[in-house]
């Protein structure tokens, strides 16, 4: 696996892409549609103050998560990060606990602790959680991979992060140690070109994140994050390396932050023409399926989102005394 230049993304993916069958593509389409439906819902709710907190929209980045998750198995564990709800949804987590967490209800996956920018968790799916300080996923994801190696358990650990977070010291300390120990760790970077108001192009000393992997003797590949099939293929290549016992790998999915950093950020720092060439990942995926199937999938997904939203809203607001819960084991 070598670093590919952005302009060669599609060819690189096509060369070695393992086939995705139609069922898999439909599942991917369905989850992408759910994720988009939740994005739409949260945008409405943010605008009318149905929830309080800081929502970081993931709109436009659904393709990364959907492609990634299609390449993961049941033993894999995931440390995701702050943007959107794409990761848990693409992994197949139920919507009610996702939505209820945002609303701060007890039927949320954190039992009422969550809200706004939630820390969704679904233990059985290997959705271990996320930290509020950037760089958490590197060290904790590295630890999940370490546990697998120590205990001889199958699967890999995924650490998800953005382009800005690649600068954190934890990126470095974890990758160097994971490479030395050959831990089963996938670094999955969604490079959406922005860290709040700081552009990757203006602030990065390298053209890509992927090329930085070489400093750790680790393979790094850049892929078009708008194409879930290409992402899937890149992750499959990375995990072949990891599964063979060669240690960590890095995939950089190039994507777009369609909205603001958080809901309410108008983004007037963004240059004109930035979105030129933008492809909606749902359209890219839809093009691989029969239009009538896509139509049905989107209708079904919208219905599931609406039903889950209703159930989520019906959940109770937690009592004040839960603030003392979960500080220590019960």
């Amino acid at each position: 696996m070598t670093t590919t230049k952005p302009d060669r993304l599609d060819e690189a993916a096509d060369q070695t892409a393992p086939a995705l069958d139609n069922d898999q593509l439909e599942t991917m389409m369905y989850r992408a549609a759910l994720a988009r439906g939740v994005e739409d819902l949260f945008a409405r709710w943010a605008a009318d103050n149905t929830f309080q907190g800081w929502w970081h929209p993931g709109r436009g980045q659904e393709g990364c998560a959907v492609g990634l998750m299609a390449a993961l198995g049941p033993d894999d564990q995931i440390m995701w990060y702050h943007r959107g709800a794409n990761w848990p949804i693409a992994r197949g987590m139920a919507l009610e606990p996702i939505i209820a967490d945002l609303l701060g209800r007890t039927n949320g996956s954190t039992g009422g602790k969550g809200g706004g920018a939630p820390h969704w968790v679904d233990w059985d799916l290997g959705l271990i959680g996320s930290g509020g300080t950037l760089g958490t996923a590197h060290v904790l994801g590295g630890g999940l991979a370490l546990a697998k190696q120590v205990l001889g358990r199958p699967g890999i650990a995924v650490a998800g992060f953005g382009d800005g977070t690649a600068s954190r010291g934890t990126f470095h300390e974890t990758l160097i140690q994971a490479a030395a120990w050959k831990l089963p760790l996938l670094y999955f970077c969604e490079n959406n070109g922005w860290a709040v108001g700081t552009s990757f192009a203006d602030s990065s000393p390298t053209a890509t994140i992927a090329e930085r992997a070489a400093a750790y003797g680790v393979p790094g590949e850049r892929v078009d994050g708008q194409d879930p099939v290409a992402v899937h293929a890149a992750v499959m290549r990375a995990r072949a390396h990891i599964d063979a016992g060669h240690g960590p790998a890095l995939v950089e999915a190039v994507t777009y932050r369609v909205g603001g950093h958080y809901f309410g950020d108008v983004g007037n720092y963004r240059p004109d023409g930035e979105m030129d060439g933008y492809r909606d990942p749902l359209d890219v995926l839809a093009a691989r399926l029969d239009p009538s199937v896509v139509e049905r999938i989107r209708t079904d997904a919208d219905a599931e989102v609406a039903a889950a939203a209703e159930r989520a809203l019906a959940g109770p607001i937690p009592d004040g005394d839960i603030i003392f819960d979960h500080l220590y084991a019960e």
Binding site: G53, G115, T133, G197
Partner: protein, 349 residues
């Protein structure tokens, strides 16, 4: 009865500003005054930082003096320390004070210990770290801790915790001019409060001098930062019942104005501490420990702490109020405090 801060020289003029804006104003004035001063932080040029504290700064200065960093907190603080050693006067916006732990070595070991370790060479280490404290609705356990007690327990740093826009300006300007590293902690919950701010660009408030926004004899309430408005509100309600409490706003935790605290409590004989930080091991513990030692036998009641609960702030904004001291708790505490009778000395054993 609210007292004017005494340090303000008769200001030429004042202007009603948001607490948040006073930060940008102070930085801008100090950057004009001293060419060595520069600002760095995440997204300063695009947003004025995550909290917009320095919005507009980039219109007045070059990118050489208003710098956008990446997500590199250890560099931000460590390089501020290094830049101060190199003769510059950095003002670093680390946004949430919780991120001080990311740069924990740089804050607690470098900034606090460097000159000590090197025998006072150099004498000065003028770094200002802006580290937002208090609670910003819905931003969760890793963004809302109040960490001033950690700084109090680690010599070598100064710590400012302003409660009004005027204090923000006066204290931040003092911090930037100060030869020691100052952790300046604006309270995120006060960002949108407003108040008159002196426009005099030599208006400063010395570090280490508390203010007394209300005088009274019934008891002394020692507080600071986001708790000050709550305490003043409670004090108004108590006054309506004929209970006149004295309110001390510490304004800085290091140096801590012990003279103001001790002389007030010596007079009132009753003391309460109110802060947002977790009760156990907080600044209130040190104040209680010191008061009971220095005023033993002169206190009419034990020093009371009405402070943050011993837990973290959940992401769910709805739960935040349960974690923080409320006006009701302050009122109840104050009423209990003023009605406590000193117990008759009892035989021990």
């Amino acid at each position: 009865m609210t007292q004017q801060t005494t340090e303000a020289r008769t200001p030429r003029t004042t202007k009603k500003l948001r607490y948040q804006q006073a930060i940008g104003l102070a930085i801008e004035e100090e950057m004009r005054r001293d060419e060595r001063v520069f600002a760095m932080g995440q997204d300063l040029t695009s947003l004025g930082g995550q909290f917009g504290l320095s919005r507009g700064l980039i219109d007045s200065f070059t990118e050489n003096r208003v710098r956008d960093t990446g997500v590199v907190e250890t560099f931000m603080i460590g390089a501020a320390c290094g830049a101060a050693l190199g003769g510059a006067v950095p003002v670093v916006d680390i946004t949430f004070s919780d991120f001080m732990f990311i740069a924990g070595d740089e804050i607690f070991n470098k900034l606090a210990k460097w000159r000590f370790m090197h025998g006072g060479t150099p004498n000065e280490l003028p770094v200002t770290v802006i580290a937002g404290t208090g609670v910003l609705g819905g931003s969760g356990a890793e963004h809302n801790s109040s960490l001033e007690a950690h700084l109090l327990h680690n010599p070598g740093l100064k710590v400012a915790v302003p409660s009004t826009p005027a204090d923000v300006k006066g204290l931040l300007k003092s911090a930037i001019r100060d030869p020691d590293p100052v952790i300046f902690m604006p309270n995120k919950g006060l960002f949108f409060t407003r108040g008159e701010v002196p426009l005099d660009d030599d208006f400063t408030i010395p570090l280490g001098v508390a203010s007394t926004p209300r005088q009274g004899d019934a008891a002394t309430i020692i507080t600071y930062s986001g708790s000050v408005p709550l305490v003043l509100d409670a004090a108004d309600q108590l006054a309506a019942d004929g209970i006149d409490v004295e309110v001390i706003d510490l304004r800085t935790i290091v140096p801590l104005d012990w003279d103001a605290v001790l002389s007030s409590v010596e007079r009132t004989g009753r003391a309460m501490v109110v802060h947002e930080a977790v009760t156990t091991g907080g600044v209130g513990a040190e104040i209680a420990a010191r008061l009971q030692a220095e005023l033993f036998g002169r206190l009419e009641a034990p020093v009371l702490r009405v402070c943050g609960k011993d837990t973290h702030i959940p992401q769910n904004a709805h739960l935040e109020k349960y974690c923080l001291p409320s006006v009701e708790e302050i009122l109840a505490g104050a009423r209990a405090l003023v009605s406590t009778e000193r117990p008759v000395p009892q035989p021990v054993g």
